[in-house]
Symmetry: C2
Subunit: 347 residues, 2 copies
DNA sequence: ATCGCTAAGGCAAAGGTTTTCGCAATGTGA
DNA sequence: TCACATTGCGAAAACCTTTGCCTTAGCGAT
């Protein structure tokens, strides 16, 4: 294929097809004004030479590079991954490529990356992060559209996409209510996390709608760890002995709660039902029993971010904070009483 | 900053500084033959206008794009992340940018991405994946260097970097031996995983060097799950009642083993010591007790991949399969008997 | 005063592609 | 046969930067 040195250019293709470079370009891009015969001849020549158009040259001329930058402010962990996957879904394999930039919460690194992205003339930028808390806009007057996903800009003119944590909390509680539970406790992460507060608010709201309140009279704020889940379970059991369900701020806490309940002699879900948050597979499915949990649909969120960015690139920008719905993944840990084969009559 | 429409070009900068574009270019790139006064004038003009050089134009001319492609064959999970971070370490923030391409083990997607990368004239390509098993080369005669990281090419002319699983297994066992354990079992993942077989081989080798063999006379192959860890522990205890240590093929299995041992009334590490593999923080630190485990140093592996790729771009290629050392992260689960405050005299 | 040398900076080409415009050839109708 | 529309293709400009070569000016030495 590659005969001489250097990559083959459109001029080589044109020469082989016996046409001018301009004509070859039109033929390869399906532009009008080219006879069918010529078009085929050009395409065959391109094939034969293994021609790969030079995207740099094209981008230089057209002003579009068909690349986007993805800046993850937070070290790029389990929350960023599905978002990135969703973004790739939206951009299609190879159509638009994404530059991955991990700023590691370092403002200086972030600026370096931003600079580098702008120099490479990306068509747009997606900013993502673990925190759903507000952040400074990445820059001002950037010449390219920016979408924030799982991170939201303090500038309301920017478009920010985040999961609806409050809705997620309500979802969890309504599910527990629907399985007949009424004494529902809540153990969650640190109060300084907006997500923790919102999930708790959603839960309380759903309880209030049913004329109920949180078991023990409050949400138990702590850490996002199993360790805290175990301690939280102890506190909760002491405060609300009649407990028949616990909604947890994330799956790790839920797993800690599950372990401690079992060690205390309480059965999940027969005595106490359990719902987590995040649907982190490795935790939720390894839990004993497997965990019912709220899924933030991060992949769809990423896909939405990609789609919005493309729309903005095409001149249809949007703005503001947009909440995307969560959904519930039901597993063993919240099975209604009396259902399921193993426990028929076990009460 | 941005005054009119369109981005500011070097011609704008040159005009403002009262020089020709060529001179401006030399001044901005620190080339010789420019007086100090002019250089400063140009730099100030660039600053004032917010000039951002067009990397597309530069790349078109110089033949280097200062970008690399990163193709992850496997859906880009916990193993790819540290590798990607390491690659970024090596490439520096903003100096060289990486195109992230997730092929999802789909050969067709992979080819699309490869095509797209070559069109964008990347300087090199890194291929990474979850499997350490051999794979087909991504393509032939690619015009750009390729490095395989956590994935290895069947073509020995390619450079492949993978963790030394065998060494990791030996490391784990030697550590257990050094804490005075002698009856050491091994529970691990499916036999079809090269990594599982290699880790077991390393373990057996280290035992043989001490004149010992695996407790129960074999390695127990199963799944990479906690569930299997619990069942494996049962099998192992039945086969080797005098067991005083277990080396597990990954951290999830180890955690399952830890849980089952505790449920059986055996104490970790007092009665049975435990070593895992992967150093997956969320598992290893949530384990009760926190898990001693083998770390594959994936981040360093990624960094090495980046460095090798840069070397190859600069005309210093290397080739072959290279094994990178693992290291041991010691935590509670393998504390030597009689050490530590909680158990003094507890035996 | 002339020569030669150096330093500083301008000029123009090159890199590969797309696109506009114009030209030629062909076909159509009178 | 001529005027005209249509179709197909070529020529050249444009995108922005870098770089090799050339010009010019300045200076010291002869």
């Amino acid at each position: 294929m590659v005969t001489g040195q250097g990559p083959v250019t459109i001029t080589d293709v044109a020469r082989l097809a016996g046409v001018s470079p301009g004509t070859a370009s039109k033929a390869l891009n399906g532009r009008a004004g080219i006879s069918a015969g010529t078009a085929i001849r050009v395409q065959e020549a391109a094939e034969q030479l293994g021609y790969q158009p030079n995207a740099l040259a094209r981008g230089l001329l057209t002003g579009r590079s068909f690349t986007v930058g993805l800046i993850t402010t937070d070290s790029f962990g389990r929350f960023s991954i599905p978002v990135v996957q969703g973004v790739e879904d939206a951009l299609g394999p190879g159509r638009i490529l994404v530059f991955l930039c991990e700023s590691r919460d370092d403002r200086l690194r972030e600026q370096h990356y931003l600079q580098a992205l702008l120099e490479r003339r990306v068509d747009g930028i997606i900013v993502t992060g673990r925190r759903q808390d507000q952040r400074e806009p990445i820059g001002r007057d950037l010449r390219v559209p920016v979408v924030y996903a799982m991170a939201y800009s303090s500038d309301p003119a920017d478009l920010s996409l985040v999961p609806d944590d409050e809705d997620g909390g309500a979802l969890a509680v309504r599910h527990l209510l629907s399985t007949g539970r009424t004494t529902i406790g809540h153990v969650t992460g640190p109060r300084r996390f907006r997500a923790a507060v919102l999930r708790a608010a959603g839960a309380e709201q759903a309880l209030a709608a049913a004329g109920l309140g949180l078991a023990g009279g409050q949400a138990w704020y702590g850490e996002w760890t199993e360790e805290w889940g175990r301690r939280g379970a102890d506190l909760l059991l002491r405060a609300a002995p009649g407990l028949d369900a616990v909604f947890c701020g994330n799956d790790q806490i839920a797993r800690g709660v599950a372990d401690r309940l079992r060690e205390t002699g309480l059965r999940v879900p027969e005595d106490v039902a359990l719902v987590g948050f995040d649907n982190w597979a490795v935790i939720a499915t390894a839990c004993r029993p497997p965990l019912t949990t709220v899924d933030m649909n991060l992949r769809q969120l990423g896909r939405a971010a990609g789609e919005r960015l493309l729309a903005a690139v095409d001149g249809h920008p949007s703005s503001g904070l947009q909440l995307l719905p969560c959904s519930l993944v039901v597993r063993e840990s919240s099975r209604p009483r009396g259902s399921g084969m193993l426990d028929e009559g076990g009460q």
